[in-house]
Amino acid sequence: MKKWLSVLVFFSLSLSAVAAQDRVELFGYFESQAMGADIKDEFLLLYSNKLRVDLKSSLSERVTFAANFDYITFHGKTEWNILDFLPADVIAEVPAGTEAFYVLPFSDRHFLDNAYIKLSFKHFDLTVGKQQISLGTGYVWNPTDVFNIKELFDPTYEQPGHNAVRLDVPLGSMYTFTTLFSPEDTWKNSAKLIQLKGRISHFDYSLTGIEKVWRFHDYTQFDPVNMNFLELPGKRKLLGASTAGELLGLGVWAEYAYNWMENSEDFCELVVGTDYTFNFQTYMMIEYYRNTLGKTDYEQYNLNDWMRMIALEQKAISRDQIYALIQHPATDLMSVGISTIYSISDNSFALVPTLNYSFSDNVEIFAYLNFNFGKERKVFAKTMGNGGMIRARVYF
């Protein structure tokens, strides 16, 4: 701990020194968060504190360097046994003697989340290093994004950085051609992306092709060499398209991806969404998501399905779902909302009331509660635990 505190102090001092130079910005936020869930008649609590320090430097008109360092500490219930959430017949699939590996630990972490240099030339931008990769037009689900999976109850939270080399070439004012290479141990295993984005009338369009190794696990088999569940890497080739625009006064978007899998069944994903702001300031959004990898009958959900969803390896385990959100500014500093995620395939849903409050210019508070309404074995089963989260964030 002392070692890492020293690292942090050194890092801060270094940044201060760098920030003293011209055109270097030092900023970030501190975030304190409490999460709770009612599991088996016990209300479990997990607290976390996160310090994010951002550094951004425009070394010249054409060269930008940006990085951020995250330090996160966890307190309270820092080990969650996933088996506590799962139905008895699914738990029966757990290989004998491996129960201890189904514990999800929340350990203190510190890491360089993003660190990249961006070179802006007259006709293209080149970004090299660890950077966020955001793909697709969907709000909760992004079929074309093979790099990230969003949290269902908190979909706008920032995504981690990925090591990559990215080239963006504007083609006139309406089109952009992008290629991205995210290196792994070999060229063959590295992720490659090409994308063409453009605008026709009032609609944005994109065509995306990606090749990436999908590293999901078989949670029914244990790998004694790596002391982890057996990894099943398989090459995934994706061809996708997305659009966003306006139709009959409504905001509309759609995203589709077809996935050719090396070792498993091919599948496709589709998102269709619409939103509207009423004159009385209420904002409404609905998004439909289909994933043919998901199952239509909840009786078929197995241990792998649950574990892959909890470990954020797979976006959904039921085939069809709808996300709906209504938000309204209750006062000039506070907005309240309620969202629901309804799994059409197994007829279960979660209700998530939310609150955003601007405490001061640079302090915001976000909170939600989540209530599950579904029988045991369904995606939003009551046994998954009702709970909530409150987060205060101070920007500096």
């Binding site: 966020q132 920032e158 995504q159 978007w253 939103d275 702001t277 004159n279």
Partner: protein
């Protein structure tokens, strides 16, 4: 060659002014844009009042005469001011003309501004934002980027095609989101301004039908008073607006906004003040929006303004948005 003497009747001068006025958007504001040099005879019925050579210089805000001897000039100038000016500028400008001039004033070729927005809430708390904005092609392209507070730093909004196409950039997630035009109804950072209120291109012309009411004095200025009623096919958030436009420079010094469904319900009032001429353009350096329903107000103060500067088209693209 000696000019032929010409008798200009008042209606003729009125027509002349109208012709000049129709060309006025092409002239730089506050510059003399048209000169008429004629030998004229002013008559009252059959009685010749005066014969002289005069020069009339006309621009949007000015009628100047010169020629003849000084005494005659004063007499004629007085006549023009007392008789012609109220007639020409008071009567012939229709509601459409005035709204067009207000629109021209807002939609300069290019502009760059740095502004401070202070929101005062019902509980008396304040929230302050500082942003930069750039516009091109008379407001057809707009880019807004927040500088402060840290919470929203580098968040940016790009509006093209008179805000029919809107994109927002969120630096924390590095996502660009395309928004439908209904997003214009949303409050700008929780302020009393919606994106729609900030003016998008030709909104006053496209969304409302103007009607000129009796002139009034407002905030110490002689003003044209207009009623703008929402057009049937428009989905703008207000049923009507009442606008007081300063006669001297066409700055809308006060605008009252009425409820979407109830045209009698006064929702918000916008007051412009500290009017300065910057790059020949009258500019309100301070704008306050009072929300009558919520009892809140938002003050917008221009810290820097520049007009008619060179802005590259590449600024108004996704690449420019993310910069």
């Amino acid at each position: 060659m000696r000019r032929k003497k010409k008798i200009f009747s008042f209606p003729e001068i009125e027509i002349l002014i109208k012709i000049v006025d129709s060309y006025s958007p092409h002239f730089k504001r506050n510059e003399v844009c048209f000169h008429v040099s004629r030998n004229i005879i002013l008559k009252d019925g059959d009685n010749v009042l005066n014969r002289m050579k005069i020069k009339i210089s006309i621009n949007k805000n000015l009628i100047r005469m010169c020629g003849g001897n000084p005494m005659k000039q004063i007499i004629i100038s007085g006549l023009i001011v007392l008789i012609l000016a109220p007639f020409l500028y008071g009567q012939e400008l229709t509601g459409e003309d005035i709204v067009q001039k207000v629109n021209d004033l807002f939609n300069v070729e290019t502009a760059h501004a740095k502004a401070k927005m202070t929101i005062q809430t019902t509980s008396g708390q304040k929230r302050t934002f500082i942003y930069e904005s750039w516009s091109k092609n008379k407001g057809e392209k707009n880019l807004v980027r927040y500088l402060e507070p840290r919470r929203v730093k580098d968040q940016a909004t790009l509006m093209l095609n008179n805000a029919d196409d809107i994109w927002m950039y969120f630096p924390r997630t590095q996502r660009v989101r395309k928004l439908a035009s209904h997003a214009k109804k949303q409050k700008m950072q929780g302020s009393d301004f919606s994106y729609e209120d900030m003016g998008s291109g030709d909104a006053f012309i496209n969304d409302f039908s103007p009607k000129r009411l009796k002139d009034e004095k407002m905030e110490g200025y002689d003003c044209y008073k207009l009623e703008l009623t929402r057009k049937p096919d428009s989905d703008v958030s207000y049923s009507r607006l009442i606008m007081w436009v300063i006669k001297e420079n066409f700055v809308p010094v006060v605008i009252d906004y009425y409820d979407e469904d109830d045209p009698t319900l006064h929702e918000k009032r916008l007051v412009e003040s500290d009017i300065r001429v910057i790059d020949d353009i009258p500019t309100a350096m301070k704008v306050v929006m009072y929300n009558k329903n919520d009892n809140t107000q938002t003050e917008l103060e221009l810290l820097e303004v520049k007009y008619n500067i060179t802005l590259a088209d590449s600024m108004f693209t996704e690449r420019g948005l993310k910069k």
